[in-house]
């Protein structure tokens, strides 16, 4: 389980789990699906086009040969599809009432988990660029934190509903500041 591996504090609770927009996944798999189905029209076209022009050996277009190579083709593209699905689904940001945990899944053998406390957040930006991102409401969310250089900033591309997520993070940060302030006042008195 995801949350079993990430230890949350005693008062910490997950406010929201955010992912990239479905369109990002769709744009990655559409090529895979098109390439997977490509041999069918190509074979039909080639058979129709070459019929009578070039003598095609019986064995070349036998159902066995087609089934064999299409099975290999299917294995390759099924692998690519599930690879992309895993990559998409496991790339996630957990917003808790104390911190943000950014999980970046890159393929099957690289996974990075980074987190920062909300009080370290300095700036939060949203970029929505282009027609499709504007209509479907997805974009880049970048968070500058204290003690990190520009390359080390937390950034997620293609995030779904980035403005909502930004408001949520800001609310959580304000709530955190209030709680911290109350604790500090209690400690003082």
């Amino acid at each position: 389980m995801l949350l079993d591996k990430i230890e949350l504090g005693s008062d910490e609770r997950v406010v929201k789990t955010v992912r990239k927009h479905w369109f990002i996944f769709f744009s990655q798999i559409i090529g895979i699906i098109l390439l997977w189905t490509l041999p069918i029209p190509l074979l039909a076209l080639a058979t129709w086009w070459l019929d009578g022009v070039v003598p095609i050996p019986e064995s070349f277009i036998s159902i066995k040969v087609v089934a064999f190579f299409y099975s290999v083709w299917t294995l390759i593209f099924a692998g690519a599809f599930y690879h992309e699905l895993t990559d998409y689904f496991l790339d996630v940001w957990l917003i808790t009432n104390e911190r943000i945990i950014a999980i970046d899944q890159q393929g099957l053998f690289k996974r990075s988990v980074a987190s920062f406390r909300l009080e370290r957040m300095q700036e939060i930006d949203v970029d929505i660029v282009g027609i499709i991102p504007t209509f479907l409401d997805f974009g880049t969310l970048r968070i500058d934190t204290a003690g990190r250089d520009e390359e080390g900033d937390f950034k997620i591309h293609g995030l779904a509903h980035p403005r909502e997520v930004k408001s949520l993070i800001l609310e959580a940060a304000e709530e955190r500041q209030r709680t911290e302030g109350a604790h500090a006042a209690e400690a003082h008195y």
Binding site: M1, L2, L3, K5, K64, A67, F68, S71, V72, T74, L75, A78, G79, Y82, H83, L85, T86, F89, L90, I103, Q105, L108, R111
Partner: protein
């Protein structure tokens, strides 16, 4: 002679495909069951991938070995 070579090549392709697919399926399963809390979705993903891989490998085997 040629026919034997082709048959052996098909068999080799089957073994290689089985090895890679099994490894990939295992890795996909590991990631879904380890890093997600949505067990139903993980089951759907892993089982559907398993079925696709099994069907493709069965087709390859039926041609390579028969």
């Amino acid at each position: 002679m040629e026919s034997l070579l082709i048959t052996n090549l098909l068999k080799l392709l089957f073994y290689v495909a089985t090895f890679i697919s099994t490894l990939h399926l295992a890795m996909i399963g590991y990631h879904w069951y380890s890093y997600t809390s949505e067990r139903t979705l993980a089951n759907i993903v892993v089982i559907s991938y398993f079925l696709i891989v099994s069907a493709a490998l069965a087709t390859i085997a039926s041609i390579a070995f028969l």
